[in-house]
Symmetry: C2
Subunit: 366 residues, 2 copies
């Protein structure tokens, strides 16, 4: 059955003018009486009268009009690659948790990690007069956001830093995470550790790979570039493909450190398909600690990133940029701590040599 909607007349909006007429004072007085700051210079009884009338008439301030005059919309733009990626919703809730109490709303846009889409969206946000932008889209090179910042738009970036630009950035301690994971694996006796790296056009992919290389050498693990394969996307399919590549390279390894959880899940799945059990045959680790990981077997050992607090931090910094009279106080760099979460996907190296200088463990595959 299909019923119809009837047309409805929009109810007239109550404005300052209505309150002014009602109370007999001028609209500017009404405006001041309603403004918690300007209120100081208004007689208590006028304030009383105005508030009474406002209440009675159901006055709601028109933010659009105020925004036109003050050039502030109380709106911020939030750019992310893709909201369906589970790591972003907690970030958004974190952002919201500081913005909403302050009366700010956010406009969220998905860039899909496409360069031109991203720069078009920056313009969309600017056209809408957002007071600032939180940029969590992971594309590394990005002229449009830098230009916006140069033009005076308050901007902070999350998980990424724009080179040569003076834009505050919040990043997670990627390197620390990689190091913790490597020493965890090392403690379990692993010496030949493979890495499934993330896309290199994303900063997380790049940072984690660089950290992997650094730590492997500084920890005196066997460093073999053939144990590094790079995924083109952060997803399970790529995790599978990279495992195939690792196995067919014939290089022996006893563990795979993956650049994120989804790669790790794909890797484990494919290992299983090839008759290799995790963690008995190969240990696999992830990164991010995304939701639902506790439901997937084996439970993944990973690095937890506090997405919610990253969002909070980004929003807090942006507020300081927007409202603070001394911008000098806003730190350019903020590094958030990460945490090693040991679960079931990592275990003792199967053929680990008793001494680090021993021979490599034998390959079990093929």
């Amino acid at each position: 059955m299909v019923r119809k909607v009837r047309a409805v007349m929009l109810k007239k909006r109550i404005t300052l003018k209505d309150i002014a007429r009602e109370t007999g004072v001028h609209v500017s007085t009404v405006s001041r009486a309603l403004d918690p700051v300007e209120r100081r210079s208004i007689t208590p009884e006028v304030i009383e009268k105005v508030h009474g009338a406002a209440e009675r008439l159901g006055y709601r301030p028109n933010r659009i009009a105020a925004g036109l005059r003050t050039n502030r919309t109380m709106t911020v733009g939030v750019m992310i690659p893709d909201i369906t990626n589970v790591i972003f919703p907690p970030i958004l809730r974190g952002i919201e948790s500081v913005l909403e109490p302050l009366g700010y709303a956010s406009i969220i846009v998905n860039t899909d990690s496409e360069k031109e889409r991203e720069s078009r969206l920056v313009d969309v946000l600017r056209d809408r007069g957002v007071d600032g932008i939180i940029h969590a889209a992971a594309l590394r090179s990005d002229p449009s956001i830098a230009r916006a910042a140069e033009d005076g738009m308050p901007v902070v970036t999350l998980n990424r830093r724009v080179e040569r630009a003076c834009i505050p950035y919040i990043i997670n301690d990627e390197e620390g995470g990689i190091r913790q994971m490597l020493s965890h694996l090392s403690d379990l006796g692993h010496r030949s550790i493979a890495h499934i790296a993330g896309p290199q056009n994303l900063s997380t992919g790049q940072l984690r790979l660089a950290a992997f290389r650094d730590c492997v050498t500084s920890m005196k693990l066997s460093h073999n570039e053939r144990l590094v394969v790079t995924a083109t996307r952060f997803d399970e399919d790529e995790g599978m493909r990279c495992v195939d590549a690792l196995l067919s390279s014939q290089e022996p390894f006893t563990a795979i450190l993956c650049a994120n959880d989804r790669l790790a899940l794909g890797a484990i799945e494919r290992l299983r398909g090839r008759g290799l059990h995790c963690p008995t045959d190969v240990s696999v680790s992830g990164f991010n600690d995304m939701p639902f990981l506790n439901l997937i077997r084996p439970k993944l050992t990973t690095i937890r990133i506090e997405q919610h607090s990253a969002g909070r931090t980004a929003a807090t910094l942006l507020m300081r940029l927007i409202n603070s009279n001394d911008l000098e106080s806003v730190p350019i760099e903020t590094i958030l701590p990460v945490e090693l979460i040991v679960r079931d996907s990592t275990g003792p190296a199967k053929d680990a040599a008793p001494r680090p200088t021993g021979r490599y463990s034998a390959a079990r595959h093929t």
Copy 2:
């Protein structure tokens, strides 16, 4: 290390007035020359000149100012319970896929299914002058959104319908989904089927329970109210608790139809903890087909809801409400089809009912 941000002067914005000065025509002419509709009544050479100047100066229209005059912000509000719930991001992308090409942006708010928060957020959206609201927050009774609709605000609801209000709603074919699942289970030989129902203050929870009761009787399965337990939240913990309740009731059953996937996942987990294997001992089914289900063992048999297209549909209807001159054409009710996805968590009914403790031997119901 902590470097500092330097203060930056906001670059002056180019306005219609600047273009008018540059081209020597009046600002109203500039406005018309730039408006694709009004453009008809302007000389081609003036249009040329104006567009040239606009291009050269880098003019970007001020939507705030336009919005004040036209009373349209090209913004819609989207209300959801919680963005971290994986079913909502696809809905949002669906909405965005319709809205963005039309020049609309959306403000997303999370209600956390709290009544007063929800009604406060309706006000927030109205204050911001959104042109319409898509309401996907599942609280069943809700005066504030109905009031907004009465005041002339275009509103559509998703996954829920506001009683007694003339608000177009989009729902999924919950009953059809339940029926499909029940006949699937019935085909597998199950006759005693338990139901873990969702929270009854959410419409999905309520609708699915009602459908379960209807279908069970109409399909002549054994109807036993003691095989129905109600969860207080849609999560794994509640799924576990409900399984405990079912098992301790001593009622025999061979399958559990759960009101959503998370309840099902919790149920399977707890069954396993009690020594019952899914699907060998008990079949379990979910609802929603949320992401990552393919990574969790056993792969869950469920009902797929097309979240993305639900979002698209909602947005399309809202656009019709906002822009159509005859609102009569907007259907009040839209029911979207669902699809049975058979995977590994359902199998042939075992002759014996589950016996967690082995203390009783259950007869099979007919």
